[in-house]
Symmetry: C2
Subunit: 492 residues, 2 copies
């Protein structure tokens, strides 16, 4: 790690400084250098898989000393290209895979906390909590392979945000290795700590551009005694919104999910997912999937949850907001109803290429937004199908599109994908005009980096650039992600 | 605002640049320059009371151009001296009082959000939410005079954190004026927004040292249909902790408060607060005050809440954790039980001077912490009474002390107050050893600034100094608060 090693090959110098697992053959590195959807790929100097925080620190110190960029990676399941090297970086980066660091360091059931290393999968975290008789509520499609470090680096969302919040709200403390290779131990297992700036929330959601999250303290919750789901037919998103307000008022925190999906979404699932069955006799333009979780004694808990839902649905039917509903009575039915929602992305993928928008809006504006934007999209882009679903309770829509005809040929695919940029522009302009966000839960990565900068005020970008410069002065951490490369002009 | 105005008196230049309300006579300024407990006081160039965000921006731009420090102030009810000028600052600051900015800009009941200016009192915010049929749950003793801007600047806590979180968790967006006098509009009314660094949470809790919060988007919740409180006699904090775990498992999110108080605290309230009555036949060394809130229809809601508490207490009595309990059946009884907890500080004040510690610990370690620290304090400082209470559900204790004899004479007061520094050291060393925080909800201000720096790792202080330098490069915002003045030595 002396200056003269710079003269030799950087890889030799890295090998000399770091005795841990290091891949440099193209075949070994390949799985780390392309995202899982095959949309982004970029070269690396090497792939390191450190075994512990000390090794991460050693690697980052070496990178800092040699001016080598670092691309941190968890499960490589991101949707915005944040976890692979940029295609045309000036300097080859070290890809830092955290997946070998997956130890649960501590579970404190009385304190409702769990300390875990960044490379543990979300599923492993959920399992460790359950083994202690507790719930870790973060839940999303990739949970079997995404890592908790990646979830925190991107502030992941999912289907339980309505009740429990995003990844940020489920984290009490972090351990972070700085770009200089120093270890910040912020692993506080405390619910309250007002002793200075909130470094934790700055690293959360920073997509690896400020440092490397190596461990985290997570909040645990009591396990629910029972959960009941209901698929509810509603005429339009407007009635879904009325139902949401009523359900929140009546059910409070026991309302743990409130999802919206169009009949287009449900039909795709029924068509493509083996075993999927329509739970209601008649089709409806829109559906709500809601979930109620109750605490307390297990005996009678399912009945209690069902009665709570039925009370809400009766009032909603009287008001004309709800046409029909199916409630789960068993765990199998509960899982079957959820599968209708969770398999939408997969079913949409079976139809051919997709264009996705992960948007957030003030919840009260969603019905108008859908009505106006659907009409504008239909007028401007007659050649596509709108596939709209999402977490209505959080104001988060996956406002997606598929080709009009399923499984198009090469020319059809190309024609559809040529719509991506103008469709993004139309949808995101509408989101911006409604006071929304163009990345609700997927982060910016490279996919939304420049679009986001287009909508942000120059002052906000300037403040972010200053923070980047303050915490990563050499600019080595996950280059070209989250913030545009061109520095924003400084203001007076 | 040209350079040559510097030659004239700064006050004349400020008057010329700013047409709003400005006080510079000592008698007019006095109420703003000393904190409400009279512990800290410092001089100012002038006191400005801007009417809107544009005026705040104008004032900060002038201060920036003239190198004049700025001390932002809300209701001036803080406990750590953060809201008044430092006594011995090198340059006289402008005191910026936000109290004239108290407009509710927007209430969106369907989106469960409220946009309000920083100078509104917490009570005004609660009232505006209630007028829209919603709950804003932040609640603390000073709510009639503290401002929401101050609550956010210090990340205030209070009695409902267990269910709803601190001020930080109740805020979706901010408007901030930077030290350069520019306005950052981060007033997003969104539940999810992953488009860059979390500026919001960085300004929250920064105690006015990075910029001035001028408005905020707050989260609203359904109003509960009924609330029931119970005062529960427990033999020791250990049994209180067992009761907490059971209550969380059985009651989930309907458990909205879980407070611990010693018999010393209750006795002080019974002695000093007119109308206070002991609700249980026999005294107990410790008590829990818990609160259950239920949603849904109002009819039968109180019964439902009582039954829920009774179910938990029966099981706890069988386990030997609970000796006796009193439940509220009416609103008057509910308020009377809460008054026993809320009047502890006032009752303690009636005994003479106080030494306070606002500490947080891993909840599971609290019984051991109290046992060991009580013994250590008793051994080292036989001449004082320990007055221990707090938010057990959040791991936050107000670990206070009073003189052994009430209303001591001047010599007795002086002798007691001489114990402050060594007692702080003993208690805070114990907190630090247990992985706790020496400021759970009161912030650092000047009171805990240097003590906090003593316990923090140099790297953490360095990261905070870098953020300070990035967002307030001229070092004008609330000087000498939160961070020690001496810069931390930079590391390699």
């Amino acid at each position: 790690m002396t200056a003269d090693t710079h003269a030799a090959s950087p890889l030799d110098s890295l090998r000399a400084a770091y005795a841990g697992r290091l891949w440099s053959e193209p075949a070994d590195m390949a799985p780390f250098l392309t995202d899982w959807r095959g949309k982004w790929t970029g070269p690396a100097l090497a792939v390191a898989q450190p075994a512990d925080t000390a090794e991460v620190a050693q690697l980052l110190a070496w990178c800092h000393a040699h001016g080598v960029p670092v691309v941190p990676q968890g499960g490589n399941t991101g949707l915005s290209g944040g976890s692979v090297p940029e295609a045309a970086g000036q300097h080859l980066p070290l890809l830092l895979s955290l997946t070998r660091m997956h130890r649960v360091r501590q579970v404190d059931a009385l304190n409702n906390t769990l300390v875990v290393e960044a490379g543990a999968t979300l599923q492993q975290v959920q399992d460790a909590a359950r083994a202690a008789g507790r719930l870790f509520p973060l839940s999303l499609a990739a949970e079997g392979s995404c890592t908790i470090g990646g979830n925190l680096a991107t502030n992941a969302g999912g289907v339980q945000v309505l009740r429990y919040g995003n990844a940020r709200e489920l984290c009490l403390g972090l351990e972070v290795v700085t770009p200089e290779g120093e270890v910040w131990n912020g692993l506080r297992t405390l619910r309250k700590d007002n002793t200075g700036y909130d470094l934790r929330d700055l690293y959360i959601g920073s997509e690896g551009t400020l440092g490397v999250i190596t461990a985290a303290v997570l909040k645990l919750f009591p396990l629910p005694a029972a959960q009941v789901a209901a698929l509810v037919a509603v005429p339009s998103p407007g009635e879904a919104l009325q139902l949401l307000a009523l359900a929140q008022q009546r059910l409070g925190a026991s309302l743990t999910a409130f999802e919206l999906l169009s009949d287009t979404c449900l039909s795709l699932v029924l068509q493509h997912v083996p075993g999927a069955r329509r739970p209601l006799a008649e089709a409806s333009p829109w559906y709500v999937l809601l979930e109620v979780s109750v605490t307390g004694a297990e005996e009678g808990a399912t009945d209690q949850a069902q009665q709570a839902i039925e009370g809400v649905l009766e009032a909603a039917m009287e008001a004309g907001w709800v046409a029909d509903a199916a409630l789960s009575a068993t765990l199998a039915q509960f899982e079957a109803l959820w599968a209708l929602r969770e398999n939408i992305s997969e079913a949409q993928g079976a139809e051919g290429p997709t264009i996705k928008h992960d948007i957030a809006l003030p919840i009260s504006r969603i019905p108008d937004f859908i009505a106006h934007t659907d009409a504008a999209v239909a007028a401007a882009f007659p050649g596509l199908r709108q596939v709209v679903f999402g977490h209505l309770g959080d104001g988060n829509l996956h406002y997606n599109a598929s080709p009009a005809i399923s499984s198009p040929d090469a020319a059809g695919r190309a024609a559809f994908l040529a719509l991506e940029a103008p469709l993004n522009r139309l949808v995101h302009d509408a989101v911006h005009a409604a006071g929304g966000s163009i990345s609700a839960e997927h982060g910016l990565g490279v996919l939304r980096r420049d679009e986001s900068a287009r909508y942000k005020a120059p002052l906000e970008l300037l403040l972010m650039q200053r923070i980047k410069a303050a915490l990563d002065p050499a600019g080595l951490m996950n280059p070209a992600k989250l913030l545009p490369e061109t520095p924003v002009a400084h203001r007076p």
